[in-house]
Symmetry: C2
Subunit: 328 residues, 2 copies
């Protein structure tokens, strides 16, 4: 089985590749190659399975064609212009998040045409597709009414994924990721970036800014859980999705204040003192347009995993990702 | 006020233009010009208001730029590759229904950039956006889960319209049209084409084929009602739409059998005898993916009109559209 991961240089692509390399197989099929694609050369992933890094801009059909030269059996499409950047530059977001996703689906379709097998296509959608007229607790089957360009473009990708799957051109599975925290690495242009930095950076002895109040509820999931769920998505029979290949992943709702308290319980009181509280209307406008409460029954019935506590998420971060332990 | 109508050569574009020309004003603003754009030269519309016909392919940005040279204040975007054709040719549908709509929105955005006024943009969406996991009676706020490429592309247009409106680039209003019957003119590649031909053609002495059974429920609206509602959409304050510029228009649910009985009550028993009943799995697959029952509360609260009876629709057809009366 040949695997292509777009956004392969990002924290999630790297974690997913490491996990897949460790497993050596997906759904009982041996992995023969993992291609990590990104706009900049992805970092190496230690692996017994051959891992190939490729530089590609998914908004360019020729770049995408190169990614499909070896006809991947399984695509994880994680690459995206993140929420803050897509809001700042509409054309960039449309080019990468909308046209880029269509380019990948079209390449998969062409690949299916030559190999006779529709590739499986796992698509990372987002909590950001929900907002506006959506109820305060998002149940399955709620109209996608995104209030950001990022959420809009992710929702368009979902519709394309569904239609290409319905037509048998790909075997798509679209997963709406809750906010992923605690992310390793550096802050980025995602409006949700602070939801990691107030833990990640303070646990490593650095300051962080929280632009929303402690009672702000976050629908979140840990990187380890997301990797579990991305891989679980490959094991579900296509028919089990019914007529809709896109779903809300499980996660947890906690307020920022509760999450900080959990961090304190696991790692002591030092980290919290490094948080500076400073409202930011631009960030508030985006993240308050999202929803903090979900009832993802379909995903749970399909065996996707939910996070059990934010304490777990803090532990996972300390086990998997910390570079400079607190107090060092 | 300058008005641009895409799909201006279609039956709806022609009827809308005639009505606007007759009114001479929209929302108390005098109409100075109507541009009718279509891929083939639109027919002339008798009018005191200057009406200009333009040939343009909306999938080509240069063609679209020409349509916006005179900075229309109000755009009715009716042009589309219809359902059967979009199902037969995925790329054509994506090019016209998805990229074409984006081209128009981008041209409107550029126009807003130079004039300082975001054009009003009325978008004809469709009942075809609903299906799949949607409940049997579609209420407002239901996830769009189209089961056709046409419905998918219309839903993508809605998302783009909403995002461009949220950003203040256009003042968008997206209306999901029920099946429009009785349409004048010729049969087309829409899967719903039979829903007009079994009335239109038989009332004019010709045969027609019905590919579904008499108990098939149709969510429908008359051309006259659609024109009423397209124009009503221009009179609603933007704020009244809230965070979602797209809505289900009112219509009526009747079974094919009830509609035929209504035709017989108005026009006598001859027409029904010209219907041949012949199942067509390809058409059934598309139209049975749609929904026949709706509860369009938001549209009703915003003052959009519902059809009162299918008898009315038959009368409207006889008054407005018949070319060869039955028995002549």
């Amino acid at each position: 089985m040949r695997i292509l991961i777009t956004g392969g240089g990002g924290f999630l692509g790297q974690k997913l590749a490491s996990r897949l390399a460790g497993l050596g197989a997906v759904d009982n099929r041996e992995i023969s190659q993992i291609v990590l694609a990104d706009v900049q050369e992805p970092a190496e992933v230690p692996s017994r399975v051959p891992v190939r890094a490729m530089v590609a801009d998914i908004s360019k059909p020729d770049d995408v064609a190169r990614l499909f030269e070896q006809a991947p059996d399984l695509v994880f499409h994680l690459a995206a212009v993140v929420s803050g950047a897509a809001e700042a530059d509409l054309d960039l977001g449309l080019r990468v998040n909308m046209a880029g996703t269509l380019n990948l689906l079209n390449a998969a379709r062409q690949s299916a045409g030559s190999t006779g097998r529709a590739p499986m296509f796992i698509y990372a959608s987002s909590v950001a597709v929900h907002g506006g007229e959506a109820p305060q607790t998002v149940v399955d089957g709620v109209e996608l009414n995104p209030q950001s360009s990022y959420g809009t473009q992710k929702a368009i990708g979902e519709l394309l994924l569904q239609d290409f799957s319905r037509r048998g051109l790909v075997d798509g599975r679209g997963l709406r990721l809750p906010t992923v925290t605690i992310r390793p690495g550096k802050a980025n242009a995602a409006a949700s970036s602070f939801m990691s930095s107030i833990f990640r950076d303070t646990l490593q002895g650095n300051a962080a800014v929280c632009p929303v109040s402690p009672d702000f509820p976050v629908w979140h999931t840990a990187p380890r859980t997301v990797v579990d769920n991305l891989i679980h998505a490959t094991t579900i029979p296509a028919d089990a999705f019914g007529p809709n290949r896109n779903l809300n992943l499980p996660g947890r709702t906690d307020t920022i204040g509760d999450m900080i308290a959990a961090m304190t319980r696991i790692a002591g009181p030092e980290a919290e003192r490094r948080i500076r509280w400073q409202p930011d209307p631009a960030i508030e406008k985006i993240v308050m347009g999202w929803r903090g409460h979900f009832a993802p029954h379909k995903a749970l019935s399909l065996g996707f995993s939910a996070d059990r506590s934010f304490e777990d998420s803090v532990r996972f971060f300390l086990e998997d990702d910390i570079e400079t332990p607190q107090g060092s």
